[in-house]
Amino acid sequence: MQPTRRDLLRLGIGSATLLACGNVVPRFLARSASALEGQPLNGKGRVLVVLELTGGNDGLNTVVPYADDIYHKSRPKLHLTKEQVRKIDDHIGLHSALHAFGDLLQAQQLAIVQSVGYPNPNRSHFESMAIWHTADLKPTGDTPGWLARGLDTKPVAAGSDVPALHVGADLLPQALQGGERHIPSVAGLEQFRRRLNVPKSAGPDEQRTALDQIGSEGRGSSGSLLQFVERSTLLTYASSARLESVMGKGGGATGYPESYGLAQRLKLVAQLIKAGLTTSLYYTHVGGFDTHANQAGTHEGLLREVGDSLKAFLDNLKKAGAHDRVLVLVFSEFGRRLAENGSAGTDHGTAAPVFLLGASVQPGAHGPRPNLHDLDSEGDPKHAIDFRQVYATLLDEWLSCPSAKVLGEKFDRLSLLRKV
C-alpha cells in the first residue's frame, strides 16, 4: 500500500521535502518513508542477525580437532591440546576462549556446521568475501548481495521499518547492496542525530525547510551518481528521525562487556529489536582475523569477544522474551591452512565452520569433521558442505524467502533449525 501524504508528513524530515517532491513521492522514499513514519507496526517477526568475522577465521583453532595427530604435528606452535579445549565430543572441542559458546551449546542454543566452503576455493580475502556475500562463485562489484536479493522477494508492509540495518561505521557490506531498497548504516544512536547548528536568531526552522528542499530537488538522472547522493541524503534524514523517536525505548540492558565493540553493537541491535522495529535483518562484523603472524594471543582475544558478546546478546533477548524470534549466523570468508607458517601464524585456507545461535537451532555439531588426511593441493581441508546450503536453509525456513529464486538454483537444505 502506498503511504498517504499524511503518513509521510509525520516523518520528521520536514514537510518541505515532500512538497518539493511534488505530487508523486519518489517510490524509493515512499517505501522507506512508510517504513519510517511515526507510529510503526510493532515488530514481532523473525530476525536474522549476521555476524561476519573478517579476515579469515582459523576454523581449525576454533572448533579444534584435538584428537587428530596430524593437527598437532602440523601446528607445533599453535596447536591446542585436549586440556586446552572445551570438548564437544571425542574428536572435537571449542577453543577455551569460546567458553560462552560451550555454555550455549549446553543450553541447546548453538549449532556448529563443519567444513563449509565452496568448489575451487578462492584465497583472496576480497574475492572470497564477495563470493560469500553474493552467493555467486564469479561475482563482480555490481552483483547484488544474497540478503538484498532475499529482501527483494518480500512485500513491503505499510508502516514497516527499513527491512535491514547495517550496524557499524564502515561501508555497507555487499550482501546488502544492489537490491531495490537502500539500507542504512548506523554506528550508534548518539551519532545518528542531525544537527543543523543554526542559532535561534538566524531562523533555524526556515533554514531546515530550505535545506530539505535543496536536498530533494531531484535533478539526478536515473542511475546517476547525483541521484545516488540525493537518495542517500533523504533516506538518512528519514532514518535519523525514526531512530531518534525510539531513543530511550528498549533500553535497560546489562551484561554486555564494556570493552568489546561487538558487544556494544549487539546491544544496539537488541535495543532496536526490543523497541519494536520491524526490521528483520541486522548485519555487523568483527575484523582482525587475518592472523598471519603471532596468531595465538590475537585469535584468543577475538574469539573471546565473539563468544562473550553473543552470549550477552542472547541472554538479554531471553530476558526480554524475544529470544525465540532471533537467529544469529556467524561466518568468515575462509578458514586457514592446516600447517602453521614460520611466523607462528597461519596463511589463507578454505573450508571452515559456520555457527548458528538462538533458541530455534538444532543444537550440536553438523556436517563431517574436516578430513586432515585428504587435503587439497595447497594443503587445505576440502569443503563438504556448500555455504549456499546454509543460506538456502535460512532463506526457506527462517526468512520465508524462496531460496531457489534468490540463489538461482536449488540447494539441499540442512537440518539446522527446529521445526515449529
Binding site: 518539493a20 547548528n197 547522493v229 596463511d347
Partner: protein, 450 residues
C-alpha cells in the same frame, strides 16, 4: 599510437569549449584539494597549460614554511601520538604548495594501504608516508622497491620474519593481487614463489634489513621465468607484465577521472603504453591525464564522490579559514568519523571509495561537520566562519558575496531551485544571512561530487 589520435590528446580552448571557471575548479578538485578564489581567478586568466604547469612544478617551500613543518614532524615523533601524525599530514594537505604530490600521496596510501592498528609504530607510519610522497610522481618501480623494504609494510603484511624454512604468503599475495597485477594475471604458484623470493627481510633499527641467511636462495619459477630470484627480480619481472601498467593506469583513471565507469580499452591501452614506455614514470601519465581533452569533458565532471579528506580539508582550503581557526586534530577526528581514518585504512585494499563513502552515518557526519564549520562549535574550538572577512580578503563587493561563494564552491552546477534559495538567503549581506547562504550551498547534493 600517437596520443594526438586518442582521447588523451591535449585540450585546447575553443569558442565552443572555452577555458572556464568550471574547468579550472575541476582541475583543482581532481589534482588537489580544491582552490581558493584567488587561485581560481589566476588560472582562469592564465589558461590550462599554466594551471597544470603550476601543479607539476609548484613553488618551493619558504624557509619559514619548512621550519613549521619540521617542528610539527618533530612533535609527532616525540609525542608518538597518532592524532598528531594525522594532524601533520592534514597540515601538509592544507598548506604544502605541492598539492598534486599530496593528492598522490593520498592515492598511494590507499593503494599500499597500511594500518597502524597492526604496525603499532608512529615513526614507521611517518616514514612510509614520506616514502610514498618522495616517489609519488616518480618511477613506480622505485616506489615498489621502497615498499618491499619498508618497515611499516614489513610489519603490516608479515614480510618481517618470513624465512626460507616457512615463508609467509601474506605480502607475496597482496603484492600481486592489490599492488601490481590484480587477480586473473597470476596463479597460486606465483604467490608461493614470490613469497619465497621475499624471504629474508626483517625490521632492524627502524629500517628494513635483508639477511641472506634467512633468504630462500633456491630456484623459483615466477610468472614463467625461472631463476634464483630475490625481491628485486620479482619487482622487475612484475613490471615487465603489460597487466601491471594497465592495473596502475586503471586505478589512476578511477582516481583522477571517473569512478562510475571502468575505462574502455581505447582509453586504457594508450595510457598503459605511455607508462611502460616511460619507465613507469607516474608523473608522465598524470601530466597526460590532466592536460587531456577527455579530462575536461563535461561528462566526467562531478563523476566522483568526494572522499572525506577532499570534502573536509577541501572546504577549509577553499574558504581560506584562517590558520588560527583551523583545529587540525578536530579536523582529523571529523575525517575519521566520515569514514577515512588516515594511517588506519580498513583493510589492505584501502578505501573502496565511490558510493561506499556515503551511508547514512557518514552523510550525517558530513552534514553535521559543515554545520559546525559554518556556525562554530565551542567543543572543537571552532569559531563561526566569517564570510565578510573572506569577502574583504578577496575584494568581493558586499552585494556579490553570495554569488561569488556559489561560484567558488559549485560554479554553475547547482539546481535552479537551490540557486534561488541560496541567493535569497544571502540578500541582506549580514554575516548570519551569508552563513545561511553558505550552508545552503554546501547542502546541495552536487557539492558531494568532485
Amino acid at each position: 599510437m600517437p596520443l594526438a589520435e586518442t582521447p588523451w590528446e591535449a585540450y585546447r580552448p575553443t569558442p565552443q569549449d572555452p577555458w572556464d571557471l568550471r574547468k579550472v575548479a575541476h582541475l583543482h578538485r581532481r589534482a588537489g584539494f580544491g582552490a581558493t578564489w584567488a587561485k581560481l581567478q589566476r588560472n582562469l586568466k592564465d589558461g590550462p597549460d599554466a594551471g597544470v604547469e603550476r601543479l607539476l612544478k609548484p613553488r618551493a617551500m619558504s624557509a619559514d614554511e619548512k621550519l613549521i613543518l619540521d617542528s610539527l614532524r618533530q612533535g609527532v615523533l616525540e609525542s608518538n601520538d597518532a592524532d598528531r601524525l594525522k594532524a601533520w599530514w592534514l597540515y601538509r594537505i592544507q598548506y604544502d604548495p605541492d598539492t598534486l604530490r599530496e593528492k598522490l600521496t593520498l592515492f598511494w596510501h590507499g593503494h599500499f594501504a597500511t594500518s597502524n592498528r597492526k604496525v603499532g609504530s608512529i615513526s614507521h607510519m611517518l616514514s612510509q608516508n614520506e616514502l610514498l610522497r618522495r616517489h609519488a610522481l616518480g618511477p613506480f618501480g622505485e616506489l615498489l622497491t621502497g615498499i618491499v623494504g619498508d618497515p611499516a609494510m614489513l610489519t603490516w603484511l608479515d614480510g618481517a620474519g618470513s624465512k626460507k624454512e616457512k615463508p609467509n604468503e601474506n605480502f607475496g599475495r597482496e603484492f600481486l593481487e592489490l599492488f601490481t597485477l590484480g587477480t586473473g594475471h597470476y596463479a597460486e604458484q606465483d604467490v608461493r614463489e614470490a613469497a619465497r623470493a621475499f624471504t629474508g627481510w626483517s625490521v632492524d633499527d627502524n629500517k628494513g634489513k635483508f639477511s641472506a641467511m634467512d633468504h630462500d636462495k633456491g630456484n623459483k619459477t615466477f610468472l614463467k621465468q625461472t631463476g634464483e630470484w630475490q625481491a628485486a627480480d620479482i619487482v622487475r619481472i612484475t613490471l615487465e607484465q603489460p597487466a601491471c601498467a594497465e592495473f596502475i593506469c586503471r586505478k589512476l583513471y578511477r582516481f583522477f577521472i571517473s569512478e562510475t565507469e571502468d575505462p574502455k580499452p581505447e582509453l586504457l591501452r594508450p595510457l598503459a603504453e605511455e607508462l611502460r614506455g616511460h619507465s613507469y614514470e607516474i608523473g608522465h601519465v598524470v601530466s597526460i591525464i590532466l592536460r587531456s581533452r577527455h579530462f575536461y569533458d563535461k561528462a566526467v565532471c562531478r563523476q566522483r564522490i568526494k572522499g572525506p579528506v577532499e570534502f573536509s580539508a577541501g572546504l577549509i582550503h577553499a574558504l581560506e579559514v584562517p590558520r588560527v581557526n583551523v583545529r587540525l586534530p578536530a579536523l582529523a577526528l571529523a575525517i575519521d568519523r566520515q569514514g577515512q581514518e588516515l594511517f588506519y585504512p580498513p583493510t589492505v585494499k584501502g578505501w573502496d571509495g565511490g558510493k561506499t563513502w556515503l551511508n547514512s552515518t557518514t552523510v550525517l557526519e558530513r552534514g553535521n561537520w559543515v554545520n559546525h564549520l559554518i556556525w562554530g562549535n565551542a567543543d572543537f574550538g571552532l569559531n563561526p566562519f566569517n564570510p565578510l572577512e573572506w569577502a574583504h580578503r578577496n575584494k568581493v563587493p558586499t552585494d556579490q558575496i553570495t554569488a561569488r561563494l556559489l561560484e567558488l564552491l559549485l560554479q554553475d552546477d547547482a539546481g535552479p531551485k537551490a540557486r534561488n534559495l541560496i541567493l535569497e538567503a544571502g540578500r541582506t549581506g549580514t554575516a548570519d544571512d551569508l552563513r545561511k547562504a553558505l550552508q545552503r550551498i554546501v547542502h546541495c547534493p552536487e557539492f558531494q561530487l568532485a
